[in-house]
């Protein structure tokens, strides 16, 4: 009857409400900061206790590239900085 916890965590990233999260490399991070003239603290945040962050194994100070599906634009790119809770 029950699959146990593993099935749920496996499906977490497949859920239709969860967009694609990717961890940026250091190079990509610097490129982003210079392009937008910002520092990392200007980005929106995501907590390190977030289920998706835990699942993909992102660490503090990582920047995530989030590819959202949008009803108006088709796809939209968003960035979040991982911060400790």
């Amino acid at each position: 009857m029950m699959y146990g916890y593993d099935k749920m965590s496996m499906d977490l990233l497949q859920h239709e409400l969860v967009p694609k999260h990717e961890i940026l490399s250091d190079e990509e991070k610097n490129e982003l900061f210079t392009k937008l003239h910002i520092t990392k603290n200007d980005l929106p945040k995501i907590l390190d206790s977030d289920s998706v962050v835990k699942k993909i194994g992102a660490k503090k100070d990582d920047v995530l590239r989030i590819t959202r599906t949008s009803s108006t634009a088709g796809t939209a790119i968003y960035f979040r900085l991982v911060i400790p809770e």
């Binding site: 009857m1 029950m2 699959y3 146990g4 916890y5 099935k7 749920m8 499906d11 977490l12 497949q14 859920h15 239709e16 409400l17 969860v18 967009p19 999260h21 929106p44 945040k45 995501i46 907590l47 977030d50 289920s51 998706v52 962050v53 989030i66 959202r68 949008s70 009803s71 108006t72 634009a73 088709g74 796809t75 939209a76 979040r80 911060i83």
Partner: protein, 373 residues
């Protein structure tokens, strides 16, 4: 180069393919659309928050005060209309009527199978299995007459029931079709409390799910529930864990993360507005959802959320709870740098909005030219 949103690009491509338009003309179309798109975007420093606020609140004034509505043809009552919108934007931890929409995997799409899953999800309390209660004051016992037919229909073993009772150290034992509960402390008030406590004992199903309803939506069987517990439901065999959702945004935040919570806020708000026949551009709702989730958790709009955490003292004082903010600012020696829009309007200065946001930077010569002296 100016990039059009992917959706518009795809639409142009589809149109040109369908109408067999040459590459040169296609480029002309793209140029024309780009021009229009550029014109319709917000300019830098335009106060789009104000526009968003008005675009959402004007239709909200048209909302009915009717709070309940039946989902589907029969069954589950869900909070809708203005109370629901307030619930979402105030970021309440628990919605007034938590509900789930459970989708079923293709391999389980038969009515019998879906009914079985629904039955397993619904919480059964001892209350549902008892026909009548007798309070025996001579023996100081409580006797529950069990509904054996229902017990078997729900596939519950009556022998297990006595172990489920766990109220004030009372001991339960089975005697035929009766369940006897013997309290440890023998006084009458205690017995009364136990009498009701025992009825609440959890027998099977998922805690908090009080109603289930199997309906057919767009050609597939779907279970609607009253009460919500995503984590437990995802673990049940046959449940499509990629589509099943709840209307409890904090539960989604907990189980699926902030981005999912943001999507849920947008979906729920749009659903509530659509249901009332109100049209609001989804971009404003997205802006609001982004505001609520920038810090990684879901924050309310209003006194205890975004408006209560603004940097400027004057802005916080002008919104709500004026005295509280001014006093605490005085105690802590806060400084208002007058950088935002509202505080500059308050002191009658040019606000950093639109053209007011830009300063003139000039090179002032150290020495004036000779002829001007």
């Amino acid at each position: 180069m100016y990039n059009l949103p992917t959706k518009i690009q795809e639409e142009i491509l589809k149109y040109t393919e369908e109408n067999k338009i040459s590459e040169k003309q296609q480029q002309q179309i793209i140029d024309a659309v780009t021009k229009i798109h550029k014109m319709s975007t917000y300019d830098p420093q335009e106060p789009m928050g104000v526009v968003a606020a008005q675009s959402i609140s004007e239709p909200a004034t048209q909302m009915t005060m009717r709070t309940y509505h039946f989902a589907g043809t029969a069954g589950i009552q869900v909070t809708l209309g203005l109370p629901r919108v307030l619930e979402i934007f105030d970021a309440r931890k628990e919605p007034r009527t938590p509900t789930m929409t459970i989708y079923i995997e293709k391999s389980h799409q038969t009515l019998d199978r879906v009914r079985k899953i629904a039955e397993n999800i619904k919480e059964v309390k001892l209350r549902d299995l008892v026909k009548s209660t007798i309070l025996d004051l001579t023996e100081l016992k409580i006797k529950y007459k069990l509904d054996l037919e229902r017990l078997h229909a729900l596939d519950v073993d009556e022998k297990k029931l006595s172990r489920l009772v766990n109220v004030r150290n009372a001991v339960a034992e089975l005697a035929g079709e009766m369940l006897h509960v013997i309290p440890k402390k023998k006084d009458i008030t205690n017995i009364h409390k136990i009498k009701f406590g025992v009825l609440e004992a959890h027998v099977k199903g998922i805690k908090g799910i009080t109603q289930v309803l199997v309906t057919k939506e767009e050609g597939e069987w779907v279970i609607n529930t009253l009460g919500s517990n995503l984590k437990k439901v995802f673990e049940i065999e046959g449940v499509d864990a990629t589509r099943t959702t709840s209307n409890n945004i904090f539960e989604i935040l907990d189980v699926l993360g902030v981005e999912a919570a943001r999507n849920a806020i947008i979906k729920q708000t749009r659903f509530t507005l659509d249901e009332q026949g109100l049209v609001v551009d989804p971009r404003y709702i997205m802006l609001l959802a982004d505001m609520m989730t920038t810090e990684g958790n879901v924050k309310a709009i209003g006194r205890y959320g975004i408006s209560g955490e603004k940097d400027s003292v004057l802005v916080r004082a002008s919104f709500e709870e004026t005295k509280k903010h001014l006093t605490s600012a005085a105690i802590h020696g806060e400084c208002d740098l007058l950088k935002g829009t509202i505080e500059n309007i308050m002191v009658n200065q040019v606000a950093p909005v639109g053209t007011g946001a830009f300063d003139l930077v000039g090179k002032i010569p150290q020495q004036l030219p000779e002829e001007e002296k």
